[in-house]
Symmetry: C2
Subunit: 280 residues, 2 copies
């Protein structure tokens, strides 16, 4: 294949690569934290990459953004205060703000350039950035959580890059302890947790760290995500209390989604046989 016409993310550790046909490179820069590129693709709309990894495409970001937000929001009895750690493309923020009961969302991404580029190249993801309930902060999310007061948040969404580089500290026991400390009693954490086919060991370590930190209830959700390694992604929800899915509220939701609905909520919680055995 003619490499000059493809963007390829090659993952040495998993022995896999995924490519999208590109029509042009629209932007490239080295921010204070990472290397950012924007491409126009032939069939997936715009593509943002960070340090050579696919982050978000126009065509398929809905899976990830909906699954990082709606399941957790319909599991909390009445989520009012939400923090998004990472999430600089603002797609998760947009989904969270679709919930009328949410009163305040703080998005804390260390790299302002991600958001500035999203505003230009993914304006649809940024359409709620000016919602009066939203605050965008460009500071260190780990420190933000560490410095927070007890019972200051209902839902923490960790919408981060892979656990290397700036995001590494978001996958450890110290960070989870700080989350436990600032979450309300019925609060929860949801974190992107990579691919169950390719990164089962990482998911196991993450679940262990969550349990050790004081989260007594864990649930891993599974969903498709074409541009991420294996095309099958996961998010792990951790809470102090047992939570009940607000099925009726979900079925009566007043906003549109492309992937998520009440059936998909249940579907995402179904554990593959190999996964069950790994964490029995």
């Amino acid at each position: 294949m003619n490499l000059s016409h493809w963007f390829t993310e090659e993952v040495a550790a998993t022995g896999t690569a995924f490519s999208l046909k590109i029509t042009q490179k629209l932007h490239e820069e080295h921010s204070d934290f990472q290397h950012l590129e924007i491409y126009d693709t032939q069939t997936f709309g715009k593509l943002m990459t960070i340090d050579g990894c696919t982050m978000v495409s126009t065509r398929d970001n809905f899976f990830y953004h909906e699954m990082m937000s709606h399941p957790a929001l319909f599991l909390h009895p009445n989520p009012k205060r939400v923090w998004i750690i990472g999430g600089g493309d603002c797609g998760t923020l947009r989904e969270v703000l679709k919930h009328p009961n949410v009163e305040q969302v703080v998005q804390i991404d260390i790299d302002e350039r991600v958001t500035r580029l999203a505003e230009v190249y993914f304006p649809e993801l940024c359409e709620s950035n000016k919602d009066p309930r939203a605050q965008l902060k460009f500071i260190d999310g780990i420190k933000w959580v560490k410095d927070a007061l007890p019972n200051s948040v209902d839902l923490i969404i960790v919408d981060s890059t892979d656990p290397v580089g700036p995001a590494e500290g978001l996958f450890g026991e110290r960070f989870y302890r700080d989350c436990v400390a600032c979450l309300s009693d019925d609060g929860l954490l949801v974190q992107q947790s990579e691919s169950a086919l390719l990164h089962l060991k990482l998911i196991g370590e993450m679940r262990e760290a969550m349990k050790k930190s004081g989260f007594s209830h864990l649930q891993t959700l599974f969903f498709p995500q074409c541009i991420y390694p294996s095309g099958w992604w996961s998010a792990t929800i951790a809470s102090k209390a047992a939570l009940t899915f607000r099925q009726q509220d979900c079925e009566a939701k007043t906003f549109d989604t492309l992937y998520y609905n009440a059936d998909i909520h249940h579907a995402a919680t179904a554990q593959p046989e190999f996964f069950k055995k790994a964490f029995a």
Copy 2:
């Protein structure tokens, strides 16, 4: 990336490509029907490709083979007679034969070479080929179904390549009419139906053709399949009568699976919001 160390399936129509790191090419031949290659990969075990498309890998074939067989078998009240059209790697055959109530399975693949290569490179998939209930035929599956007597089969599994080349006729109304004619009243057809993200139009045409042919109940199942385009695959089940999932039998199943279980059965039937709207 150094292309000499990767096998890449590039799909022009979808603008996507997927690659596996290979350690060596083990075999290559042009059979009477298609071009067959076998590779050893770094992380996915063996890989068989047909006409340049990934067909089966040691590591991730379980998703596909389990989802092409168990959901349909637990939807039929008492499946005794099963045909597999295609399926030359014998992985679906192995899964079907795990069901003790199945009395006869005929696998009809036009290309004997696929099976001969599977016996050498995927022996685990062929471990039930000598089961006395199994018959392997290397003839045209379309003609086999056309010539069949009424009420001669309970379940037809179409485990084929993409709808180009030898498999094209398996995706049309004429073939489905022949299936309706030879299936028992409570019989069903299950067919691999590509990716709902990349091939929604094809799924729509296939569902239309199935309905026109006399199948009144359709259900599309969704599941991960890393090595197929988008990493998210589907199978469509078509039946003349409404069918009820034998949940208790599934929960009491006496055989092992890696992906499938009763929860996964329900999960696979959940329709994404965009899919529901497309076929409302």
